[in-house]
């Protein structure tokens, strides 16, 4: 009897999870293995701000209970870092020295939080928010009613910012080019949005750049942020929300084309016939614009995972979802975004 087809998925986020589910639905007999750096099964990152509303048990955030994976024959390999993909031998290598062969590979590793270069030397003083673990560290380190200094303020950060305000915390927002990312806005388009934030009590700092962060103790807020105009502001926690960057070093031997992300056809296939990509890690060919484009936002990402899985199983469907890029302030003074659905 022939070995079942082995689909390997790198990443267990929205794209990876959606792909695994679609693969199982489309091929009951195949093997599916997912690799993730996370310690826990797939959960919706956009729900992480809910920890400030008291949802501090990670099990409450899971998209599906752990039993789902066993019931659906999906091998979920957690705390596994892929360090190499051999595109000709069709083998994935893991950091702990295990090698795993694949028949098809979907790379849905997502992106990591981008940190402007001038702040990279202060990374250890900046709280992340890319995982449940990171969210809980913020929750635990932030005193009740304390202040967060937020640098940038992309749409993920904005969601957290609004939740912090709702739950009694204070926020100072240092605006930069990535504020409201992935929306690309002019200064005129930004102005009403920032005004709406000011109206909600956010201290908005424009036209100044964070250039240094230092720790404080002795009862003072734990962080001091130096701005390039000479001002210094204090906060209990400093966070940076400056969009996403891709990490594709592990794909260098995969015989795929790479620019900033993995370059894929509209069908999400790379230049290696056995490898597909989905989510924030890939740049999709746009025939109209004759360019490879990133499509961010969880709505796009979710669609990509499912689409890639269908194409792996033999379909030839192009990605043509591209959620409209629009952000506005509604009549109630709330910021609305086509990329983001804020849960009350």
């Amino acid at each position: 009897m022939a070995e079942p087809h082995h689909h390997v998925i790198i990443g267990s986020g929205s794209a990876g999870f959606g792909a695994a589910k679609t693969l199982r639905e489309g091929d009951p007999d195949c093997r599916i293995t997912m690799f993730t750096m996370d310690a826990i099964p797939f959960y919706h990152r956009y729900r992480l701000p809910e920890v400030f509303r008291g949802r501090t048990d990670w099990r409450d955030l899971l998209a599906k209970p752990p039993s789902f994976y066993e019931e659906n024959g999906i091998t979920l390999r957690r705390r596994c870092r892929v360090v190499d993909v051999d595109g000709s031998a069709h083998v994935v290598s893991l950091a702990h020295q295990e090698t795993v062969p694949f028949d098809s590979l979907l790379v849905a590793a997502g992106g990591r939080a981008y940190l402007p270069e001038n702040l990279s030397g202060h990374a250890h003083l900046i709280h992340g928010f890319g995982s449940f673990e990171a969210a809980m560290r913020v929750y635990n380190d932030l005193p009740r009613g304390g202040r967060v200094v937020m640098i940038g303020g992309d749409m993920i950060g904005l969601d957290l910012l609004l939740t912090l305000l709702d739950t009694g915390y204070r926020v100072t927002l240092i605006v930069n080019a990535q504020t409201f990312w992935p929306h690309e806005l002019t200064a005129e388009q930004r102005a009403p949005l920032l005004e709406a934030l000011r109206g909600k009590g956010v201290d908005v700092i424009e036209n100044a750049r964070a250039v240094g962060i230092s720790p404080q103790n002795g009862g003072a807020p734990a962080r001091r942020v130096a701005l390039d105009d000479g001002r210094e502001i204090e906060g209990d926690v400093v966070m940076a929300f400056c969009g996403l960057a891709t990490s594709v070093e592990f794909m260098l031997r995969a015989e795929v084309d790479i620019e900033r992300g993995l370059l894929v056809s509209p069908e999400l296939q790379t230049t290696n016939d056995a490898i597909w990509a989905a989510g924030d890690i890939c740049q999709i060919w746009h025939d109209g614009e004759k360019a490879y484009k990133f499509y961010h936002g969880w709505k796009n990402v979710r669609v990509m995972g499912q689409l890639a899985a269908r194409n792996i199983l033999g379909a030839h469907e192009p990605f043509d979802v591209d959620v409209e890029d629009r952000i506005w302030v509604d009549e109630d003074g709330e910021i609305q975004s086509t990329f983001w659905t804020r849960k009350p």
Partner: protein, 600 residues
């Protein structure tokens, strides 16, 4: 059992030579020093060093526990090849700790992370690297993981450091220092790790009843023997009883006693009976194959009415069987083994504390009833550790011997027929009390004769009757719901811990349930057994043998039906299996009509 507070089970699995058992030993001693109750069991390979699987499982609780749990809360792999088959033992949201920096490539599935279920929480760390950085060697991996667990669970590090220092006290100081460095490096790695597991360790109980001592069943027997005044030990090594011999080889001469390793088991029991005849408190220890060889001489002990103590730690049988696996299949041999009608006292403690107390009283009992006493345990009880709270003063110290009195001009009748069957015993050297001691049937003087064979048989049986009421010895005890119940669970030996845990779980489910342990297997406490059967609609007897040897013994003695649950699975009886049977029986006795209809 533990409704609140701490109740976690730690397991570590590796290859022989990885320090797995040593690591478990430190964990259990540290937990006991913190004030927790500890019950632990190590599994060794039968093979030589460098091969085979070792597992140490340790249950740490704020309330007394009675058995190991079937699922561990924290599991550490020092060798993925051995550990992978056991990952399934970790409960949902428990922690699996492993090395995530292997030194050699492995194919798919060769790393433990491939086998961790989605509901279990993986904790990978570079165990070997940490050990090498801390000590310049990889051999302290077992100590690194202890530090990691202590850091992860926020356990008091100083308790571990003290135990490590004690453990390596006999080695050069550099060994202790190196291990402390390995522990501290692991501690540092474990502290601050974000925890997704829900393993909770609370404060230890504050008021312990005296100083807690960690003992194995075998260790407890040695302590009981020493406090009970053992004077002579003769033994031949055999798993799982060997450690009794090894400990006594060191301790007995210090206490003024004599130790001899004999050439085989027959020599060991012969010397034991001989010493007992001479008035020395003598013992031997063996396992099933050894006990089989000893039965002939035990028959002599019965016939000549010589006190002796024989420990039998059971393992899988028959023949060489499963030397490193537990079983309860020597009951028939212990109770009935040998030629003729050869009644003896068989005592089967159910836990480590029981081993200590039964061993402490064994010589006194043997001397009172002038008969070999078998302490019947098994590998699970021999090797498992528990916290014991021994008395500050020795409560088992030998009582002064009463020298028989003989009227002037009368012969000393060594085997005189008395009302209780016990004849005053003289020792060789007692003035005017010479007699013949032989394996031949004899008259009251001890001279060979078949005239009183019927009477002497009756005497040898009758004299043991009162042993079931021996002062200070718990020969049977009932637990749980008193009065009438739906299901009774009757057990003996090490299995009773699992029975007790089952009973608590069944009660929590609302099942009317009671459990009874029988410590004295020969003679049986028949009155207590009848009362228990009278109160139970149905009685279940779980035991680790194929034939249902205890069930047969009880039903044969009191003529009551039992439901058997017999397993020869080389491991302790799973609580889940007993509980499943209890549930089935409870449903059956409460719906007799439906059950009968279903059966038809």
């Amino acid at each position: 059992m533990n409704k609140s507070g701490t109740d976690i089970q730690f397991a570590i699995c590796g290859s022989a030579g990885d320090g797995t058992i040593a690591s478990g030993d430190i964990m259990k001693r540290a937990a006991a020093a913190m004030g927790f109750h500890v019950i632990a069991f190590d599994v060794y390979p039968p093979e030589i060093r460098g091969f085979g699987k070792c597992i140490s499982r340790i249950r740490i609780s704020s309330e007394q526990a009675y058995s190991l749990k079937e699922q561990s809360d924290v599991f550490v792999s020092l060798n993925d090849g051995h550990a992978i088959p056991h990952v399934g033992e970790v409960r949902d949201y428990g922690a699996v700790i492993y090395d995530d920096h292997l030194i050699a490539p492995v194919a798919e599935g060769g790393h433990i992370s491939a086998h961790i279920r989605p509901a279990q929480i993986p904790y990978g760390l570079p165990i070997r690297q940490i050990s090498e950085q801390a000590t310049n060697a990889a051999r302290s991996r077992n100590i690194v993981v202890l530090g990691y667990v202590a850091g992860l669970l926020d356990l008091p590090a100083e308790a571990f450091r003290k135990v490590i220092a004690q453990k390596f006290a006999s080695k050069p100081a550099v060994v202790t220092e190196s291990n402390i460095r390995a522990f501290d490096a692991g501690l540092e790695a474990g502290r601050g790790v974000f925890r997704y597991d829900d393993v909770a360790v609370g404060a230890a109980p504050t008021a312990a009843d005296g100083e807690a001592v960690m003992m194995t069943g075998n260790g407890a027997i040695v302590r009981g023997f020493l406090e009970g005044g053992i004077q002579s030990y003769f033994g031949y090594p055999i798993t799982p009883a060997t450690s009794i011999m090894e400990r006594l080889a060191v301790e007995l001469p210090k206490a003024g006693g004599r130790f001899l390793q004999t050439e085989d088991e027959i020599a060991a029991i012969s010397a034991t009976i001989g010493a007992g005849f001479a008035g020395s408190r003598a013992a031997t220890a063996t396992s099933g194959p050894g006990l089989a060889l000893m039965t002939e001489m035990m028959g002599l002990g019965v016939m000549a009415e010589v006190p002796a103590v024989v420990v039998c730690s059971q393992r899988g049988g028959p023949s060489t069987g499963l030397p490193t696996k537990t079983e309860q299949s020597d009951l028939n041999l212990a109770v009935h083994g040998g030629s003729g009608d050869a009644p003896r006292i068989v005592i089967a403690p159910t836990n480590v504390e029981g081993c200590y107390r039964c061993a402490g009283m064994a010589f006194e009992i043997a001397e009172k009833y002038q008969v070999p006493v078998v302490l019947l345990i098994d590998l699970y009880l021999s090797n498992r550790y528990e916290t014991v709270f021994p008395s500050d003063k020795n409560v088992f110290a030998p009582k002064p011997r009463e020298v028989p009195k003989v009227k002037e001009g009368e012969d000393y009748k060594r085997f005189v027929l008395t009302e209780d069957g016990i004849s005053p015993r003289a020792l060789p050297g007692d003035a005017g009390m010479m007699y013949t001691a032989t394996g031949l049937e004899h008259n009251e003087l001890g001279k060979p004769s078949d005239v009183l064979h019927m009477e002497m048989n009756a005497k040898r049986h009758h004299k043991l009757k009162s042993a079931v009421n021996y002062p200070g010895l718990t020969t049977s005890k009932r637990f749980g719901d008193m009065g009438k119940v739906d299901v009774g669970i009757l057990g003996w030996g090490s299995t009773f811990g699992e029975i007790l845990e089952t009973m608590f779980e069944a009660q929590a489910e609302g099942i009317s349930c009671s459990a009874m342990k029988v410590v004295m297997l020969s003679p049986l406490p028949e009155g207590e057994l009848r009362a228990f059967f009278d109160d139970c609609k149905v009685v279940l007897v779980p035991e680790l043998n194929y034939q249902g040897q205890f069930a047969n013994l009880v039903s044969g003695a009191i003529g009551r039906p039992v439901v058997r649950l017999n397993r020869t699975i080389a491991t302790p009886m799973p609580v889940a299996e007993i509980l499943s049977e209890v549930r089935r029986l409870a449903a059956e006795v409460n719906e007799p009509v439906a059950a009968a209809a279903g059966g038809v």
